[in-house]
């Protein structure tokens, strides 16, 4: 389960699923990338993987839903859809058609912190893809007869992802409650009334401000080296004019002083659940020193069927069918440390919440078991080796890290930083973060029966 990631695959569900998968399994890793920067400021990263004669080509823009102007929620994602329309040299839809004709696949996605466009294709067609991607970085033409049907598509996407699902609606409400002043308050896909009100002028302004080579990162993974890529990158992207430097100005989250509860009751909920999220730091926001200890804590306390929470709530006390914890410190802005559990039939949600609270209290009181910390760190090291396996995995991890504002070292040194985490650091991080005044508790309940 993953409640805190709000990626939106712009064009298909599958993309979103793959993205989550890639991120979960490939968080760790030493990908040994090579990097250089073009004269116009565009950063280039190459991750060689010679498994098959194919490449994954990605262009990441350092802009996401959290960079949108107030009242224009959904513009980053809506704009991402429009990037597949008309340009000065292409008709609407032609971009994807040319790639398909060359045996390639393409898609895009938007998160709070970045927007990414990607293609997979035989390595001998890479130039075609680069030419097309460079073309739409500056050559897009927006027209009403493309904007309006696409607006309807985005509204259908919102219905499909969020409005048709009680669980997704609760997640949206919880984030809105969690982030009082930080832009993660708004959903990536946007609020319906604001999606409806976005104008062509809004969209063009957004494009001109953010879609520039000096605000973009090129990541190519697969059957290629940096020496082979450099001339292509210079040829296709090097001639794009550098734009004005943009600063990502984001509001700051004030201290939280009161625990918040959010309850969603719906007749369609047949299996209730509880989620609890605590405001937490990330690599770029708040107390950075807590980030790696919190990652290990999530693994020991709530990662999988051998974790403390699962053992206690699911196996020993038999109160829940599932229980766990999650944390991701890769945001640009504040993160959250979260818990989830779903009750066994006949167990009231209040009872389950009390048991969860007791486990958290026990953790804060007695600290984490040092032996389990060593075990978890060992397991997490191995994940870094698996992460190298797939061609797209490294591109995804490095691209998202750089686009959010992290460094290649943050990715490459992850195994060492994780292995340096101590029990004392975890206990200190838990004490600092898991305070009820920093929390939002969400309950997903059936409309008829109270509390079960």
């Amino acid at each position: 389960m993953n409640f805190e990631k709000f990626y939106i695959g712009g064009r298909s569900f599958l993309a979103a699923v793959l993205l989550l998968f890639a991120f979960q399994t490939a968080e760790a890793g030493v990908f040994n990338p090579e990097t250089f920067t073009l004269k116009n400021g565009m950063q280039v990263v190459v991750i060689s993987n010679h498994r098959a004669p194919i490449v994954r080509h990605m262009v990441w823009y350092k802009v996401g839903a959290a960079d949108e102007p107030r009242g224009k929620s959904g513009i980053a994602h809506f704009f991402e859809h429009l990037m597949f329309k008309k340009t000065t040299t292409l008709k609407s839809g032609e971009f994807s058609r040319i790639i398909a004709k060359n045996g390639g696949r393409d898609n895009a996605f938007t998160s709070h912190d970045y927007t990414g466009y990607h293609q997979s294709i035989a390595v001998d067609r890479l130039g075609i893809v680069m030419k097309l991607e460079a073309d739409r970085m500056r050559g897009l033409i927006l027209e009403d007869d493309q904007i309006e049907p696409e607006r309807q598509v985005v509204l259908e996407e919102r219905r499909s992802r969020t409005d048709n699902s009680p669980g997704a609606k609760l997640s949206e409400q919880m984030s809105a409650a969690m982030f009082i002043n930080y832009p993660y308050h708004d959903p990536v896909i946007g609020w319906e009334h604001e999606i409806k009100a976005l104008t062509k002028a809004d969209l063009m302004k957004f494009y001109d401000q953010w879609y520039r080579p000096n605000n973009a990162i090129l990541v190519v993974a697969g059957d290629i080296t940096a020496a082979q890529l450099r001339p292509l990158a210079e040829k296709y992207y090097g001639s794009l004019p550098r734009g004005a430097d943009v600063k990502r100005e984001r509001t700051i989250e004030p201290p939280h002083n009161a625990a918040i509860r959010v309850t969603l009751r719906d007749a369609r909920v047949r299996q209730p659940s509880i989620r609890r999220r605590y405001l937490a730091p990330s690599l770029l926001y708040g107390e950075r020193g807590h980030v790696y200890p919190l990652e290990v804590l999530a693994q020991v306390f709530g990662g999988g069927t051998t974790s403390t929470l699962y053992r206690s709530l699911v196996i020993k006390q038999k109160l829940a069918v599932s229980a766990g914890a999650f944390y991701d410190g890769d945001n640009r802005g504040p993160s959250t440390f979260g818990f989830y559990a779903s009750p066994r039939p006949g167990v009231g949600i209040e009872k389950l919440e009390a048991a969860l609270d007791k486990e958290i209290a026990k953790l804060l009181d007695k600290g984490i078991d040092a032996k389990n910390v060593a075990r978890a760190i060992n397991t997490m090291q191995s994940e870094a080796i698996y992460a190298r396996d797939s061609i797209g995995g490294g591109a995804r991890v490095i691209g998202s890290a750089l686009a959010a504002g992290h460094t290649i070292a943050d990715v490459e040194e992850w195994p060492e930083r994780i292995s340096a985490v101590t029990k004392e650091q975890i206990d200190a991080a838990a004490k600092a973060i898991l305070q009820i005044k920093n929390s939002v508790t969400g309950l997903l309940l059936n409309k008829k029966k109270k509390g079960s």
């Binding site: 058609r97 048709n164 051998t306």
Partner: protein, 440 residues
């Protein structure tokens, strides 16, 4: 035509499609005890990925015990041999070995991923899970509870409701028409003895297929094959599953749900994987609704009219039936219009088929994109298993693109005319659709 496009079109015609097989060398390995596996040796990373499948899946679950194969798949790794549930899970966790099982209508699968240094333990855990699962009372009760919770959760998922209703209508009393993960009632009556019988009767050497990729030599694999699968019974209990032609009689079923977006799904008889017309049908479907952002359904429903986020079709070839399925999701108020567009496209393809440009573009995409499937160990292993399950032969990967190239316009259009019958479309709509009603 503009300049960029011209140069790109030129580029297209200059390229010769690179074969996917250049980096993938598959060997068939046979162990001393006669157990066969397909192997791709790849020593780049110290990782081994194993994918196995047994023929026969959830469609063989006894009547009234639907969900048996699924319950077995979720409990094989909950303790085996002398190792109890939590200890088993802890071992997997500590060694970063991932072991999981799953069931489909016609198969029961397993996958194992391990670091090379832990391969002996990993293969041994796989052996134990397949041959000596404990099925202790505590984990069975726990997993049963999780499955039932999931059934409840899914029972209000509009997509699941649509699919369930469609399959029930298409296959009626045939096992394909039953819920493969079971119902609350059926999962509750499955006994531990049933799980044990499943393992004894269904997991054998004669219905097993094995695929391995990674940092392992042929000699090492041979030894592991005998140790891991040698103790399985030689033969699975024989089974019979009737062939069935899906019931499709132009019927529309509306399932009333208070949701803002109606989920539309529809189907009619298609063809099986071993049918000589499979590739013509595959190419036809790509153009109709299979091809991502290029298909006709995508173009007409999404691009032109903005009616849906996704509009698609796909072939679902089962061992004993073939179907072609389509679908879309649209605001309740626009459901009537969307259904009309979908039906029109179906009829158009039925009557006129493809034009030669569409056929050419489809072939270029389908052949050119084949190498993209070889992007990770898991995908390569899965593909080797699928090829073995369909008995397509070791040379299939090299041959496959030429089979696509060989498809003629005449074949495709004959298949479109025969297979797509707008009069026999069975449709399910979940939501509060305007302009669509159930057939009386």
């Amino acid at each position: 035509m503009n300049k960029l496009l011209q140069s790109l079109t030129l580029a297209i015609s200059l390229f010769v499609i690179a074969g996917p097989s250049s980096a993938i060398e598959i060997k068939q390995v046979t162990s001393a005890k006669g157990i066969k596996a397909w192997l791709v040796e790849d020593h780049t990373n110290p990782i081994i990925t194993v994918d196995i499948a047994f023929r026969g899946g959830s469609a063989l679950d006894p009547a009234g015990k639907e969900g048996l194969a699924n319950l077995v798949s979720a409990t094989l790794d909950e303790g085996a041999g002398a190792i109890k549930s939590q200890a088993f899970q802890q071992k997997l966790e500590d060694l970063a070995i991932s072991l999981s099982f799953s069931s489909r209508l016609d198969s029961f699968s397993g996958s194992l991923r391990t670091l090379k240094k832990n391969q002996t333990i990993a293969f041994n855990l796989l052996r134990l899970a397949l041959t000596e699962p404990r099925f202790d009372a505590e984990p069975i009760a726990r997993i049963r509870g999780q499955i039932i919770a999931n059934i409840r959760r899914q029972s209000e998922n509009p997509r699941r409701i649509a699919r369930r209703t469609l399959f029930k209508k298409l296959f009626q009393d045939h096992p394909y028409g039953r819920p493969s993960n079971g119902t609350e009632d059926s999962v509750n009556v499955i006994k531990i003895a049933d799980l044990k019988i499943f393992v004894e009767q269904r997991l054998a050497r004669n219905n097993l297929v094995v695929s391995v990729i990674g940092d392992i030599t042929e000699a090492d694999l041979k030894a592991q094959l005998d140790k891991t699968f040698g103790a399985l019974p030689a033969k699975a209990m024989p089974w019979e599953l009737a062939e069935i032609t899906p019931d499709a009689t132009k019927k529309t079923i509306v399932v009333d749900k208070a949701i803002p977006q109606s989920i539309i799904t529809f189907a009619q008889p298609g063809i099986k994987r071993d049918h000589p017309d499979f590739f013509p049908a595959y190419v036809m479907n790509y153009v109709l609704g299979g091809g991502g952002f290029e298909s006709r359904l995508y173009e007409e429903v999404r691009e032109k009219r903005g009616l849906a986020y996704s509009a698609y079709s796909y072939l679902a070839p089962l061992d004993h039936a073939g179907i072609i399925i389509g679908g879309a999701g649209t605001a309740n108020a626009r459901t009537g219009e969307t259904v009309t567009v979908l039906r029109d496209e179906w009829a158009k393809m039925h009557k006129k088929g493809l034009n030669s440009r569409e056929l050419k573009d489809a072939k270029t995409y389908l052949t050119g994109s084949y190498p993209l499937r070889f992007s990770s160990s898991g995908r390569i292993a899965g593909m080797m298993t699928a090829i073995q399950m369909e008995k397509l032969g070791l040379g299939y990967i090299k041959k496959r693109n030429s089979l696509i190239e060989a498809v003629t316009l005449k074949d495709v259009n004959r298949v479109a005319a025969e297979m797509l019958d707008p009069e026999k479309l069975t449709m399910v709509v979940v939501g509060k659709p305007k302009g669509v009603t159930s057939t009386p």
